[in-house]
């Protein structure tokens, strides 16, 4: 196969921490397989590739685009739309693109509150109360900054998405498995996953792949991890009273955190069939509470120190709770 006959691959990070890129690099020697299977036209963090090169491509000329990161500025939204137009398959890669991730918690605050906080911290020297300006008239000319959007959006709130690879970041073994499936579909040796599929993850919950023992015990109260002198290395963390998100979270990571005595924080997103992550987790927590009276159940659930953070830690921006898709579909290009 000549290089030009290889399907084109683009990898693009919007507002992100770079962990998704590191996770891709961590497929180690399989990187060579990716380079053999694809003509990589864009991966700004790792290799050259210019914005203008992408604009020059025909619509649909890129076979697959992986987008990590969330939609935080008008510039990233513009680039996501451009890449959508140029790509046959748009893959939402990682938690930020898929559901907003931790930075999605910013949607609990207004844009002004976020800027005000960042530019008035105790070490900030800002007597004039300056804030970044999208258009600033410096002495020598006008300087532009991308506009910080009022809300952080997920990729599928901005463009049509074909597949989703969850995780913060996706585990490297799963990344290779997902890319391999796409490669096979493209060269006709494997089935094309149905549109909307979640790739590179399991079909059950973290609890199902967790090695800890469950005694189906009920708990009288939730505890915070710093209050537990010694975490039992074998017993279910939830049954030890630690708020563990395993019951609502999609499998695929190998239950790494619980294996290290750290509760699941839910980075693989909602388990299959779950419409609202937080609602599912609340009902899972309620079901282990050793109480029947509503008041008593409330008392136990009050032990969750930060309900919105606990139930929507990764999924707030993409949840029904805060910013439904429909709210964003009217302002497309």
């Amino acid at each position: 196969m000549s290089p030009s006959a290889k399907p084109k691959l683009a990898i693009f990070g919007a507002a992100s921490c770079g962990g998704c890129d590191v996770a891709i690099v961590n497929i180690h020697e399989h990187i060579v397989d990716v380079a053999n299977a694809f003509d990589i036209v864009l991966w700004p963090t790792v290799m050259d590739g210019k914005y203008s090169d992408i604009e020059a491509l025909a619509d649909g000329e890129i076979a697959v685009t992986l987008v990590s990161g969330s939609m935080r500025t008008d510039e990233t939204i513009h680039l996501a739309r451009l890449l959508r137009r140029k790509s046959q398959f748009m893959v939402s890669f990682g938690s930020c693109a898929g559901e907003g991730c931790i930075p999605g918690l910013a949607n609990l605050s207004s844009r002004q509150e976020i800027l005000d906080t960042a530019f008035s911290t105790p070490s900030t020297d800002n007597p004039e109360g300056l804030r970044p300006s999208w258009e600033f008239g410096a002495a020598e000319g006008v300087l532009h900054l991308p506009e910080f959007e009022p809300l952080l959006r997920t990729l599928d709130q901005v463009v049509d998405v074909d597949y989703t690879i969850p995780g913060c970041p996706p585990e490297s073994g799963q990344i290779w498995a997902a890319l391999e499936a796409v490669v096979k579909a493209l060269n006709g040796t494997g089935p094309l996953p149905p549109k909307g599929s979640v790739l590179g993850a399991g079909e059950s919950t973290v609890c199902d792949e967790c090695g800890r023992k469950r005694d189906v015990k009920k708990i009288g109260r939730f505890v915070r991890i710093q209050q537990v002198a010694e975490i039992d290395p074998e017993l279910c963390l939830l049954e030890q009273g630690l708020p563990c998100n395993g019951p609502a979270t999609r499998s695929g990571c190998g239950a790494l955190c619980p294996a290290a005595s750290a509760p699941c924080i839910g980075c693989y997103g909602a388990a299959p069939g779950v419409i609202d992550y937080g609602a599912r987790l609340m009902s899972a927590f309620a079901s282990v509470v050793d109480a029947t009276e509503p008041a008593e159940i409330d008392r136990v659930l009050d032990g969750i120190a930060d309900p919105v953070g606990q139930f929507y830690r990764f999924s707030l921006a993409g949840s029904l709770l805060r910013s439904g898709r429909s709210a964003w579909q009217s302002d497309g290009e």
Partner: protein
């Protein structure tokens, strides 16, 4: 007024954009280095439980989550005024040392190395990791991959995951390690010492043996006389995990050291309305703008800065490398008595000295008799209140400052992250490059691109630790505009 826009492709990531304005005579009027993104962690972490901060703040940076995880855990310890058991501290530092080995290795071979090993005059297409491997041997590529794998395996053993570790909590760690894991980590540490020495050898053979490269390192274009910052242990030696922050003047005088909780007495952040990032400076010296020298509060926090701010390295092989570094580049002490290297390109060499220290430190920690103790937690008993945690991130001193209510829910968060420390010195390097290569409206195109690229690379910028650029390629694009803002020429380079 004519303007030149340099857009590291990282435009695609919202990374950084440089605007250079020329005056009517065609000389540089000013240069602006803009960071076009913000995520707002200081706001949305408010209300979260303090024990979650080590995992929440990991998501500031996926390249150095270990730094945020550790600074955050230390800040959370301080919030509860709890002292973790010795083993917990050893484990955190062991994870962190393994991370340093991985991070510095990646930077030297994939990012910084190409400039020296392949050579700044080599065609741009060869100045990448493949060019490095062609020069030093393909088998080294396997070793670089091995070093990365090793580091991430150690991080997973202690931290639970390879990226975004999960196990540091207020008062210690969630779990300890087994003897089998310890033995494996010790083996990796010993391998890393050999690898670091091999890497220093490459620097010797290729850079120090070549007068042209050495002259470039010593050239005025890459020299800045700023203050320097770095964590030091009680003996004044470089430490990545703990200690006091040492401040060295450009004249070789240690102007002071501060405990993490005292950071506001020393550091303030200047604001400009044309960028989302702030410019930290030394409060006691003051903000004088983008200038160096003893009267300007601008400081740098890099591998070179850490060596300058310290009296030496705490391990024997690294100490020998440190002495050789100063004997070669700073034969005479400054007026204040300390030898200081102001040549910014020497940051690459300093990074290798640190690589060797991190590897030696891994072995010291992995062979500590208490490292496999199961006692890794102290349960806090005091009411949570306020705390500051500091570590040395590879890209600069990292400060997390939290205030909480009596339940340990955050009421205020302040973060000064690694790369941010270097925002002013980086901006100055860019302006200096522009001033030396643009005269009477004539732009030395390739020279400007090279200079800006190399000035960037030595800092290993990570915006920001907010957005971020993976160690790898940094292509640049320059648009030259006329006074109407029309693009009259575009040039680009695959760096």
């Amino acid at each position: 007024m004519e303007r030149i826009t340099i857009d590291p492709v990282t435009r695609l990531e919202g990374h950084g954009k440089i605007e250079i304005f020329l005056d009517p005579d065609g000389e540089v009027a000013n240069a602006y280095f803009q960071i076009p993104e913000l995520r707002g962690f200081e706001r949305f972490c408010v209300g979260r439980p303090v024990e979650e901060m080590p995992t929440l703040t990991n998501r500031i940076c996926g390249v150095c989550p270990e730094a945020h995880h550790m600074a955050s855990a230390k800040a959370a310890d301080a919030v509860y005024n709890v002292d973790p058991p010795r083993t917990a501290k050893l484990l955190r530092e062991l994870l962190y040392s393994a991370f340093y080995v991985t991070d510095h290795t990646t930077h030297f071979y994939a990012l910084g190395g190409p400039d020296f090993v392949v050579g700044p005059d080599a065609p741009a297409a060869e100045r990448n990791i493949l060019g490095v491997l062609a020069k030093v041997g393909m088998e080294v590529g396997g070793q670089v991959i091995q070093a990365r794998k090793n580091g991430h395996n150690v991080i997973e053993m202690i931290g639970g995951r390879k990226i975004h570790p999960a196990t540091a909590v207020p008062g210690g760690m969630t779990h300890g390690i087994t003897e089998e894991q310890r033995a494996e980590i010790e083996k990796i540490g010993r391998w890393s010492i050999d690898f670091a020495q091999f890497s220093l050898g490459i620097f010797d053979q290729i850079v120090l043996a070549n007068d042209a490269y050495k002259d470039m390192v010593l050239s005025d274009g890459y020299t800045q006389r700023t203050y320097y910052m770095g964590l030091i242990d009680p003996n004044g030696k470089v430490n990545f995990y703990d200690g006091r922050v040492g401040i060295m003047s450009p004249e070789g005088t240690r102007v002071g050291t501060y405990a993490p909780a005292e950071y506001r007495d020393w550091i303030a952040e200047h604001v400009e309305p044309w960028t989302y990032l702030k410019f930290p400076y030394l409060k006691k010296v003051g903000w004088q703008g983008f200038v160096d020298g003893v009267d300007s509060g601008v400081y740098a926090a890099t591998p070179l800065s850490r060596l300058n701010a310290a009296d030496g390295m705490a391990t024997p092989l690294a100490q020998a490398a440190y002495e050789r570094f100063y004997a070669t580049l700073a034969p005479r002490p400054e007026a204040g008595g300390k030898r200081i290297v102001h040549h910014q390109l020497a940051t690459h060499w300093a990074r290798l000295v640190e690589l060797l220290y991190a590897a030696e430190r891994m072995v010291e920690l992995a062979t500590d008799p208490e490292i496999t103790s199961p006692h890794v937690r102290t349960v806090p008993t005091e009411t949570p209140n306020e705390g500051v945690g500091v570590v040395e991130a590879p890209r600069g001193t990292l400060t997390h400052h939290y205030k909480t209510d009596e339940r340990g829910l955050l009421t205020a968060v302040n973060l000064i992250v690694g790369t941010t420390n270097n925002y002013a010195p980086m901006s100055m390097s860019i302006k200096k490059a522009a001033e030396s290569l643009i005269h009477k409206g004539t732009v030395v195109h390739q020279g400007l691109l090279n200079r800006v690229e190399m000035a960037f690379r030595l800092y290993d910028p990570c915006f920001g630790c907010a957005t971020h650029s993976l160690p790898g390629e940094m292509p640049l694009q320059v648009a030259i505009r006329d006074s109407e803002g029309r693009v009259i020429e575009v040039l680009s380079q695959n760096c």
